[in-house]
């Protein structure tokens, strides 16, 4: 100590100089530490990138992670690292779902009160029924861009084609977009004589032609990777809306993806639904005891089909499966690229399908009747329909209601309808912010596509504003998933919260496990039906007559929804004449009629005899 004192007294030697140096460093460090800590706490945490992957018409049970036999390792890997939600709702068709995802607002307020293709006469000109995402809503990319995100979009838009309606005008910095709701994957042929060409934009400019070697799913992925790489140096996170066209019809698919499951679906839809349900129960996607929804009454028992019919119908599903696998492949390319550039671990992925699987056949709409204008158009551009041509340019393939019900296992019906098969879809969320056990499945949370807006705004450190650019915004419909993703809650909603839908005149309300439904005949009853989804997810048992009290309560919720959300029921509907077009609806029960199910009776051998002379 003395020596040390001595040194401090101004007689520095070598050791003294060292200690003096230490002291200075220590003092500086002591002074600097709090400042550094302060600085660190003041710096905004690194915000995650966001990738929203949408599979167009992809069904609830198509991904392996939701019980499908289709090979989807990349999508499944996101599920394995993140969380799956089995109680997620979209709308029953594509543009309404996209409008709610991008605006967070009910369709009857955001411009998609009806699809532009089916706007009813009494809805024409009304606010909320513009048929495109209207200018009274702010969009998720606009708000994220304002919050410091790069915003990219690739794929299908279907929310407006005019310059003030395209992705570049609605908040996307970079885009490569199909503006139409559907079209060829190989070129820009669209589906009707009146609208023969699909319209694409790239970075806000309408494209005269498509890139060489265009194939939608591949090109969209290539473009997005390019956008991500181009802005890597800015230090800003990005939001990417990967709005895949796949697996929407027409099923256009590179040849090498078409023959991976030859004969695998000859077993038929009934067997496949059973297999998927079994896996779903084993995985915990649906509870044990779940019953399959009724097969559509006009779809035959697949076991009664001739081998040729099974093979031909099976081939449709083979190619659909290829579409989903090809989609997964390109998702894998995106994942691999993000890993390669070190962004994967800081990226939130949200994966879902935009509505129920497509059980309708748009080709019938396109081809029309011989002698019609669209028939001639289809003859020229969409008639390559030999099974060996399925997937080629000029072919049109859709798998129809039987396989759509498989894709929506275990639910009832499909796209364009408000049965669970029309609006329930698979949801995967993974990445930073997901603190639930990796690979877990949430069946309790009632999730809605409009929730994505508040969820991602919260992730980005901002919130849904009351006004945007001087205009009052409609109220946000959704609720943030952040507490659920962090494991602090099981659902963003209480049992008292209400969700409601209306499209083409079909209506539905969900509160807790109760669901009220009105649908056009014959898929509905043209009257209210009531289901308890907790006990009956397949909507097999209409409880309207048994529970008039609950029915009345739910109808009141519907009336309230109509009042507060600008709902104008259409006076025309694409479903209006369906009852006369389809066979009379009868209950479908396994084994009935036994007539042609009865096996040959084999008598006891010891009672066999030859005829007597």
């Amino acid at each position: 100590m003395q020596r040390l004192t001595h040194q401090l007294d101004g007689r520095p030697d070598r050791f003294g100089r060292f200690c003096k140096g230490l002291g200075i460093v220590g003092a500086v460090a002591a002074l600097a530490a709090p400042a550094l800590a302060l600085a660190q706490s003041a710096a905004p945490p690194k915000r995650p990138n966001i990738v929203v992957i949408l599979g167009d018409d992809m069904g609830f049970s198509d991904m392996g992670a939701f019980g499908g036999e289709i090979n989807t390792p990349n999508l499944d890997s996101l599920a394995k690292e993140g969380v799956r939600f089995a109680n997620f709702y979209t709308h029953a068709s594509c543009s309404p779902t996209r409008s709610m995802f991008l605006s967070g607002v009910d369709t009857h307020l955001n411009g998609l009160g009806n699809m532009s293709e089916f706007t009813a006469p009494n809805q024409m000109g009304l606010d909320g029924y513009e048929g495109n995402l209207n200018d009274r809503v702010a969009t998720l990319p606009q708000l994220l861009k304002d919050a410091g995100y790069h915003t990219y979009m690739v794929g299908k838009w279907h929310l407006g084609k005019e310059p003030n309606q395209i992705p570049a005008a609605r908040g996307f910095e970079r885009d490569f977009t199909l503006l139409d709701g559907m079209g060829s994957y190989w070129d820009d042929w669209n589906f009707s004589a009146a609208n023969p060409r699909s319209l694409y934009t790239e970075d806000g400019r309408y494209l005269r032609s498509l890139p060489k070697d265009f194939y939608a799913t591949k090109t969209y992925t290539d473009k997005l990777i390019g956008y991500i790489d181009a802005n890597r140096g800015t230090g800003k996170p990005f939001f990417a809306f990967v709005s895949h066209q796949a697996p929407h019809e027409p099923y256009h698919l590179p040849k090498e993806w078409r023959s991976r499951h030859v004969g695998a679906y000859d077993k038929g839809w009934d067997a496949l639904r059973q297999e998927r349900l079994k896996r779903q129960i084993e995985m915990g996607i649906v509870p044990a005891g779940t019953e399959l929804a009724e097969r559509m009454w006009f779809v035959p028992d697949s076991t009664l089909l001739a081998p040729a019919a099974r093979a031909l119908m099976g081939k449709k599903m083979e190619i659909y499966a290829g579409m989903v696998e090809n989609l997964d492949h390109h998702v894998g390319r995106l994942i691999d690229h993000l890993k390669k550039i070190g962004e994967y671990d800081n990226t939130i992925f949200i994966v879902f399908g935009d509505n129920g699987a497509e059980g309708n056949d748009l080709y019938e709409l396109i081809a029309g009747s011989p002698g019609s204008r669209d028939f001639l158009f289809a003859a020229m551009h969409w008639s390559r329909n030999h099974p060996n041509a399925w997937g080629d340019p000029g072919s049109w393939l859709a798998y129809g209601p039987a396989w759509a019900q498989v894709s929506m296992t275990p639910f009832s019906q499909y796209k364009a309808w408000l049965a669970e098969g029309g609006i329930r879809n698979a949801l995967i969320v993974s990445g930073p912010g997901v603190k639930r056990p990796a690979g877990s499945i949430n069946t309790q949370g009632t999730m809605h596509v409009a929730d994505i807006m508040p969820t991602l705004l919260e992730v980005a450190g901002t919130s849904y504003p009351k006004t945007y650019k001087g205009k009052d915004l409609p109220p946000a419909l959704g609720k943030s998933w952040v507490p659920v993703l962090e494991g602090r809650a099981e659902s963003p909603r209480t049992d008292q919260d209400v969700l409601a839908w209306e499209i083409f005149g079909n209506r539905a309300v969900r509160q807790g496990s109760w669901k009220l439904r009105w649908q056009w005949r014959p898929l509905g009853k043209g009257d209210w039906e009531l289901f308890d989804l907790a006990a009956d997810p397949g909507e097999l048992k209409d409880l309207a007559a048994e529970r008039p009290d609950k029915l009345k309560e739910m109808v009141a919720l519907w009336d309230d929804y109509v009042r507060t959300n600008n709902v104008v029921l259409p006076n025309r509907s694409p479903h209006e004449a369906l009852e006369k077009a389809l066979p009379q609806r009868v209950p479908v029960q396994a084994g009935y009629p036994p007539l042609n199910l009865k096996r040959q009776y084999v008598p006891p051998k010891d009672m066999l005899a030859e005829p007597k002379p």
């Binding site: 099974r310 029309g368 030999h386 694409p574 369906l578 077009a581």
Partner: protein, 333 residues
């Protein structure tokens, strides 16, 4: 609602697709000119049947009933040849197989040179030597045992083995050199190759087909009182076929003949080393009937001892299968 109209009958069109595929392969005829037409070795549903009716009109310096193409220098024959037959497809050793029998008939006339060197004008007619053919696929798609197999058939690269045998029971007059029957056993061993190029979609199918084969001939011990011996004939047929529409197709045909040196009582004739070219047009009239038209002509055939042959051929082939016929009955067609 239009968009669900298709749900009413999700299987519409299935049968016609199956029918179309059924008859494609089996309707192409075997012919007795030792040239196999294009698309003959495409495969179809096991158990299918076909009856070809073929009419050929030819001129040249060889007897069209003679698979050896024995040249008669300076001769000019004109002939009309008709063929009727029956073919059936089946499965053998889990491979596609086919058996066929063909009976040639017709008339031929022209000036011939007798073995004594004398020109003689002849005209003959009658039934020729019936031919049986057996075909077995060695490499290629599995046999089509059901309509689903038909739907999934694509030849890819397929290799068959064929064996033909002509039975010498046709009309033969040993006193004259020109006959419809050949009065000797003869046959062929060959290895047909079908090589699919591109998509296998009706309207767009393209194939490259080869048939390397060797013809073997027995001796005719009563050839105008002499013995006719013929060396083996090596022959390669080649076809580049292409659909124009779903039902209309065409083919560029070529053939090379080498060998078949004929010896009459020790006197040697000329050895063949000739090319022939032609084209074929095919049209499928309906589910059961196919029509083809072809023309073939030898090339570089100015010398008297060159093979000279030009042939017009029209074939009408009817095909059927019990499943398809039953389906049509149920539909009231």
């Amino acid at each position: 609602m239009n968009i669900v109209r298709g749900l009413m009958n999700p299987f519409a069109g299935l049968r016609s697709i199956a029918l179309t595929l059924l008859v494609v392969g089996v309707l192409c005829p075997l012919q007795a000119m030792s040239q196999v037409p294009p698309r003959f070795y495409w495969k179809t549903l096991s158990g299918a049947n076909a009856v070809p009716l073929i009419v050929t009109s030819m001129t040249g310096n060889t007897n069209p009933f003679d698979a050896a193409h024995t040249i008669t220098p300076g001769a000019e024959f004109e002939g009309t040849l008709a063929l009727a037959g029956y073919a059936r497809t089946f499965t053998l050793f889990d491979r596609s197989a086919m058996a066929a029998v063909l009976l040639p008939m017709g008339r031929i006339s022209g000036d011939v040179i007798t073995p004594l060197g004398e020109p003689v004008s002849q005209s003959v007619s009658g039934f020729g030597d019936p031919t049986v053919e057996f075909n077995l696929n060695l490499i290629g798609p599995k046999p089509q045992k059901s309509i689903p197999d038909v739907l999934r058939y694509e030849p890819g690269f397929s290799l068959d083995v064929i064996a033909d045998l002509a039975i010498p029971i046709g009309e033969y007059d040993s006193s004259q050199p020109l006959n419809v029957g050949q009065n000797r056993w003869y046959g062929r061993i060959g290895f047909p190759v079908v090589w699919q190029l591109g998509a296998w979609v009706p309207g767009r199918r393209t194939t490259l087909e080869f048939l390397p084969a060797v013809w073997l001939f027995g001796d005719n011990t009563d050839y105008v009182g002499k013995t006719l011996e013929t060396d083996p004939l090596f022959q390669i047929d080649a076809h580049l076929t292409r659909d124009f529409t779903q039902h209309f197709w065409g083919s560029l045909d070529a053939a090379w003949y080498n060998g078949a040196e004929a010896t009459v009582d020790g006197g040697k004739g000329e050895e063949l080393d000739n090319y022939g070219f032609g084209l074929t047009l095919g049209y499928q009239i309906n589910d059961n009937l196919g029509l083809t038209f072809s023309y073939k002509s030898t090339a570089s055939d100015q010398a008297p001892d060159d093979l000279q042959l030009d042939v017009f051929m029209i074939s009408l082939v009817s095909g059927w299968h019990p499943i398809i016929e039953g389906s049509k009955r149920l539909k009231g067609e």
